[in-house]
Amino acid sequence: MTLLSVENLTLEFDTDEGRITAVDDVSFEIAPGEVMGIVGESGSGKSVTAKSLMKLNPGNSVYSQRSRITLMLEDGPVDVLSLKSARELQVVRGGAISMIFQEPMASFAPAITIGDQMVEQLQLHRKMTKKAARDLSVEMLERVGISEAGKRFDQYAFELSGGMRQRAMIAMALSTSPKLLIADEPTTALDVTIQAQVIDLMKDLVAEYGMGIVFITHDLGVIAQTADHVAVMYLGRMVEHGPVRDVINHPAHPYTRGLLAALPDLEHLDAPLTPVPGDIPSPLERPSGCVFHTRCPIAKRGRCDVEVPAMTALEATIASNHSAACLALNDPHWMG
């Protein structure tokens, strides 16, 4: 069973400098109760991909004809990209999908109480009375572990600590019982100790509510703890996709291997870190062929800068649905 399916998502931004490709032919599926991690450097298109699920990208976004985002709801499938009016979009925005952002402080309106913002959303989506919306909001705040929830309800974001704000944000996101939660780097702005609490909380809630989660981060460590499946993105393309343990233990794409090598190894702290060489190219100068070839240690001239590799299932792990987009895959003679 699928909750969300994204097919051939291609998104360009119409700018003064011309069309900039932000997401290039990305496809994936999420089942209810599944946590799907999207990893990549900044500029890899992971946030843009996530925002597409609610059509939240700015007005200059152009989706390609072939792009399809389908959300399976009880009343039948919803073609997200065909939603136009604000009323239609409410089905995904705050209705079936909720989103939490990287900066919990900045994602609450500073001069409106947390409670007002929660009640506003509940009244909009669930046609509740103010009283019922208030009761549910306080209950949700308690559920995410906020002490004195009744008091916090009437407070403003600046009066809460960082961890508590993100808990409140999670409470608000879940109060409408969405089918899918998008978490855009939800722990990046938090202290490490708080990060673990927030991640545990999110895992508990997924299990309890049975919803799908799209978890965006640049931190492979966080993904390893959280996600069931992971997609690695680079310059708007998905380069590797598979069960999180498979991908981390047997990375198939040179970029994924690079990301993993760049993580500090706690057992060999003296060993030098190996960063992925070079910088992420400007979106205005998108490399031809495989987008990663400019930084790839095993790229072959005349092949990688010409051919666009397709996502191919890995022969060794075909059962677990692990695939990557690299010409060197399944080619025993590449290195020779």
Partner: protein, 335 residues
């Protein structure tokens, strides 16, 4: 509530302190002008054909109390102003400054405040629309009009309007009162007459103020709209006018409030020139007269002090109002 009263009281005390400081500066400036009031008055008499001796000047000095030390004279001036609202006598005209000013200052201030209100009544909605609209045509037109407003001096606009009205309607539209009301006591008819004429200086002063305010509102709104909490609210399904007014517009109000005092000052500074061209003898002209022509420091000091007091009062009011509207400030006060 108690804390809020304390906050208001603290702000009021700060405002009074500012005024004291201003009065000291104004009084010192009045003293810095070469020659004192006795010399200047008698020199003026001298030009009228009277012969004046050094003894006359000395006697006049003692009569005016100018022989007393600086601090004593400042505190007594201050006491008169603060306790009795009495600005003393004009140096040259030998008349009570209060009588001289009469309702002129209030009329001037009223025109400036009206121009300020006019400016923001237009700037707030138009600025918000400009910040949210993606139409390049609308934005370019607004940009052109507001740069025109910023670049074209008020007096030029005043001259153009006078020229057009004289040619087209045979009426110069100058002055603040019709002849029959000029020296009449205030009545309903006089007020109506005043209003039927005051709109033009308000419009002219408001014109460049609007252009300026429009740019401010637009910049503040664009800034707010780009913030994450607006995207977050959008992601919760909030849209249209509700999203706009409840989220970015409301949060942009604070800095707009804060700029009001500054704008009032700017408008008041432009008033004398517009008043000169439109022959509004009741407004602004007196300041030029006092400063430039007769070198009447006492009168100029009184006007500058009144203006500063008005600006301090506006700032005080906006501070208190902002504290009521913005919880970040309110909670900061309530602790």
């Amino acid at each position: 509530m108690l804390q809020f009263a304390r906050f208001a009281a603290t702000r009021a005390a700060m405002a009074v302190f500012t005024l004291l400081l201003v009065s000291l500066i104004v009084f010192t400036l009045m003293e810095l002008v070469p020659g004192d009031c006795a010399e200047r008055y008698l020199a003026f008499k001298n030009t009228q054909g009277q012969s004046i001796t050094v003894e006359d000047i000395e006697a006049e000095r003692i009569r005016l109390g100018l022989d007393r030390p600086f601090l004593e004279r400042w505190t007594s001036w201050l006491g008169n102003v603060f306790l009795h609202g009495d600005f003393g006598q004009s140096c040259i005209l030998r008349m009570d400054i209060n009588n001289l000013l009469g309702d002129k200052f209030l009329i001037s201030l009223g025109i400036c405040l009206a121009a300020l209100v006019f400016a923001y009544l237009i700037a707030i909605p138009v600025g918000i629309i400009a910040a949210t609209s993606k139409s390049p045509l609308l934005n370019n037109v607004l940009r052109f009009v507001s740069y025109l407003g910023l670049a074209m001096p008020n007096f030029l606009l005043a001259l153009i309007i006078i020229l057009i009205s004289t040619v087209m309607f045979g009426d110069t539209l100058t002055g603040l009162f019709s002849k029959e009301y000029r020296d009449a006591p205030w009545s309903f008819d006089k007020l109506m007459d005043f209003l039927s004429r005051a709109w033009l200086p308000v419009l002219i002063l408001g014109w460049s103020a609007t252009a300026f305010a429009l740019q401010t509102v637009r910049a503040l709104m664009s800034d707010e709209i780009g913030k994450l909490y607006v995207t977050a609210a959008e992601a919760r399904g909030i849209s249209g006018a509700r999203l706009l007014w409840r989220y970015p517009a409301r949060h942009a109000l604070g800095p707009i409030f804060n700029s009001l005092g500054f704008d009032l000052n700017r408008i008041f500074n432009e008033l004398p020139i517009v008043a000169l061209i439109m022959t509004l003898t009741e407004a602004g002209a007196l300041l030029i007269e006092a400063l430039a022509r007769s070198n009447d420091q006492q009168l100029a000091g009184a006007i500058i002090f009144l203006l500063t007091a008005s600006i301090v009062a506006v700032n005080f009011l906006t501070d208190v109002l902002l504290a009521l509207v913005d919880p970040r400030i309110r909670k900061g006060i309530l602790g």
